[in-house]
Symmetry: C3
């Protein structure tokens, strides 16, 4: 099975490219595992101080893979019961947020659902002007359960809640205004280089200490992360949610059209 | 006694209009009870998915009714001791914040004190450009005790604190900048219709789950709400506060003029 | 030893001017003690309702005094072990944040490291347009440990984290956008006078109650403050940090140049 991600290196910097363009860079189990493995491996790599996360072909990441979920909801449900799918996603968010590398998401295109969590957990986010960000989960009877604590931490309670409630995409400009994005740039490479120049002066031990210290000064903790995994497992096992997603995959019918 | 609120319906939407224009839509006990009853009744109404909250005649809501408070401070103090006045207000804020309906405040005019709490507890807020928002409580020796946790949740700590400390009104534009208001519009109906179109795709069970899940991911909890009620009861029983308000009602003298 | 601060009075207002221009208003032990004493004395002063904090000669405050730290790192480490240096700084931040006076920082110039904490703990902040704000601690292997909980409270998690991670200065305009500064003004005196007019209507008992009530409605508590002091003590005793600062003081070499 070919890898779902690409990795390239320049001195000090590793770029991870999400590479499932045929699925609009949806997160399937393989990609989640490969991303977790990549972050774990990089942790031991002294030559890397910055990890750039990006997507292919107009999509950054569009969240959970509906095809995988619909093809075998029972298995997905069991997977979830065993904590595989969703705890892998939470493990990934935690790996990004606790990494001793600075993780910079470079967004050029659509970001949906779980993709918003990758962005929210990143240290810095640069987006091109046409990029969009949205949380459509509630349309399916789901919640952005794992995304929420990281999103609240980055943008505050109400902007996070509003994204989840309205299910409407926002522009890169709006995402920058609420703090989900740090810079909107046609050519992200330029601002990225400026960040790298500055960040290369920090040693990785200090970065890791900084992250864990700021975590201790905020409300996002292990208990909240467990509650998030339990909630997404509970919801993804719900027959109504499974029907909603299967109907869409098979008949292209949205829940509110039925 | 005629009702202090009006209710009108269009498909899926119930509009509640605060209707005490002679008192600038101040919250007296009757209005608090009627609002609580209205939200409770609507909870069981499957045809309603959005509740619009609005005020009459240039006032959204101007907070606690001073006339009622000054006319019988002993009774007000006893009422507070029994938790009637203020726990009814807190019950209302919680009903709005936990409702399985999307609550949209449409503000056209002045919002003061307890009125700011109604806005802060709402899911979405649209305001006309001349609307203003202020927390004058500290001028009377009071605090916006019940408002505070909901306001902090919506706009963050410092903007909430600054409103309470400076006691100065802010414009709709400024309220939008800090996140108290979601959209500033001359004609709120247009943006309201756009929200409704989108929100009608969510079922009420998902809305209720979303609200309770986001609550679990934030610091506003039962303990904080109880502390808020205790604080406002304590302050409203203070002789100094009672004198301040009675002096104003009887002699039109502000505390700092005495 | 001449005082490191100046105090001047006008009716209702005491202005404290940080006055170590030769050290760019760095915080040495004497200044920390004198500031703590000043706030404690003012607490008992019924004629003062507003304290203005300002710096001399183009610097508001540039954080810990490196000269003092480098001259005797052993003593500094012991001082820290006994909690002297850093707990005095935390005591100062708490005195500002809990004062029954309204503390207004008027910034005209550079604000670095611990200086940002003074600003973050203040009730209101006015800055001239050329002022800048930055947290360079991580460049030295340190963290803005005591600053962080006050900064998060004022601007939210991510803007605080980003300042600490990027170690880059931001302008007054940007500081205002994230909420670290309340107003950017060429002539701060004018807006200061407007604030004073309004604030003089509050009595100090109400101000103190307001501050302690808002504290109870947020996450910054004694436990977090103790954790902050422990962290800065731990880091300042680290040989690597001591070497970094001594190398700079003696050889003008930054850690990343060695």
């Amino acid at each position: 099975m070919p890898s779902t991600i690409l990795q390239t290196r320049t001195p000090k910097r590793v770029t991870i490219t999400l590479n499932r363009p045929q699925s609009r860079n949806a997160l399937n189990r393989q990609m989640l595992r490969e991303l977790c493995d990549a972050f774990q491996t990089l942790e031991a790599d002294p030559d890397c101080s910055v990890v750039v996360l990006e997507g292919k072909a107009g999509f950054f990441c569009t969240g959970m893979d509906f095809e995988e979920f619909a093809a075998d909801p029972a298995q997905a449900a069991v997977g979830a019961a065993e904590g595989e799918l969703d705890s892998t996603y939470m493990t990934l968010l935690k790996a990004i947020a606790a990494s001793s590398k600075v993780v910079v998401s470079v967004v050029a295109g659509q970001v949906l659902a779980g993709g918003v969590g990758l962005v929210a957990a990143s240290d810095l986010v640069i987006a091109t002007p046409p990029s969009t960000f949205g949380l459509p989960e509630a349309l399916w009877g789901l919640l952005p359960a794992c995304v929420t604590p990281f999103l609240i931490r980055r943008v505050g309670f109400h902007p996070a809640y509003k994204l989840a409630l309205t299910t409407q995409n926002i522009t890169a400009e709006e995402a920058c205004r609420i703090g989900l994005v740090d810079a909107v740039q046609e050519a992200p490479e330029e601002i990225l280089r400026r960040y790298l120049l500055r960040l290369s002066r920090l040693d990785t031990a200090t970065i890791a200490t900084l992250k864990s210290y700021f975590r201790a000064m905020w409300i996002l903790d292990d208990r909240m992360e467990r509650a998030a995994v339990e909630e997404i497992n509970r919801l993804s096992r719900s027959p109504r949610v499974q029907d909603n997603i299967r109907n869409y995959q098979v008949h292209r019918k949205f829940p509110w059209e039925i």
